[in-house]
């Protein structure tokens, strides 16, 4: 049986949940699959070949020339955007349409580069930035 106390508690919980998420926007944009150090741990300079790399990681996004041979670049992006409009809280009680917006964007751009010698064997490999994925966090200050 639902007592009045339980009903009030449920109403307050629902109201608090609604207020907490009021006017929220959460957006995420990802370009290709984010590579991690674990994904590229199989690469050993001096022994891993271009065929091995392409088999595991797919074709690169760009191929360029270097003094030692070729450089393959894998690019990826993970963008996180969140926004809260606290003006929504006042909407029921005001004739105007107030806005108090906090928003923040975390742009995680990174690339993984692999350099090969003329025989197609890896010379070295590294991430360009090693950006950690930022959490959804709308507070801009």
């Amino acid at each position: 049986m639902w007592t009045i106390r339980n009903r009030v508690a449920l109403f307050l919980l629902t109201a608090m949940t609604c207020l907490a998420v009021v006017g929220c926007n959460v957006v995420r944009v990802s370009l290709n699959i984010t590579l991690t150090p674990e994904d590229v741990a199989f690469i050993t300079p001096g022994s891993t070949t271009l065929t091995d790399v392409v088999t595991k990681l797919g074709a690169p996004d760009a191929i360029g020339e270097s003094e030692t041979g070729m450089v393959a670049t894998y690019r990826f992006l993970d963008l996180k955007y969140s926004r809260v409009n606290f003006g929504w809280l006042a909407k029921p009680w005001t004739p105007v349409d107030p806005d108090l917006i906090f928003s923040r964007t975390g742009l995680g751009v990174d690339a993984f580069q692999v350099a090969f010698d003329p025989r197609g064997v890896v010379v070295h490999s590294s991430f360009q930035r090693r950006l950690a994925g930022l959490p959804f966090y709308p507070y801009p200050f």
Binding site: V26, V27, L31, N32, L50, A59, I63, E65, M70
Partner: protein, 128 residues
């Protein structure tokens, strides 16, 4: 009774998909996998590559060799618009093909991958 249940399910489905948005964008034509299979190392010429795949999107010089790059991008966005709480997720992936031509104009290597295969519309922005 059965028709009432079916109607209720239909109404529930209609209510649940309210506030959903699906968007899609592509850049470039799909890279023909049959054309890729027709490229043979040491045999196929530069002219044949162009005949099969068209002009490359990008031409790169690599230690005296030509590299033809072909690419295609596919983007799928799913949005869940719940008036006070909106979720959007946009996924972009690319298909890439590199054809390395030696100094005699013959195919030396073919590097390709199709990342867009199996890409789905996603709504939930959290997690992987």
């Amino acid at each position: 009774m059965k028709s009432t249940g079916g109607l209720s399910l239909l109404l529930l489905f209609v209510v649940l998909i309210q506030g959903c948005a699906f968007s899609r964008g592509t850049l470039g034509d799909e890279i023909n996998s049959e054309a890729i299979a027709a490229l043979h190392k040491g045999e196929t010429t530069k002219d044949e590559v162009i005949h099969l795949l068209g002009a490359p999107d990008r031409l790169v010089q690599l230690n005296g060799r030509d590299v033809f790059q072909y690419y295609r991008y596919d983007a799928k966005a799913g949005s869940l618009l719940l008036i006070v709480l909106n979720f959007t997720r946009l996924s972009i992936k690319s298909d890439d093909l590199f054809v390395v031509l030696n100094q005699n104009g013959l195919v030396e290597d073919v590097i390709s991958s199709k990342r867009t295969a199996g890409m789905k519309f996603r709504f939930w922005p959290f997690g992987d």
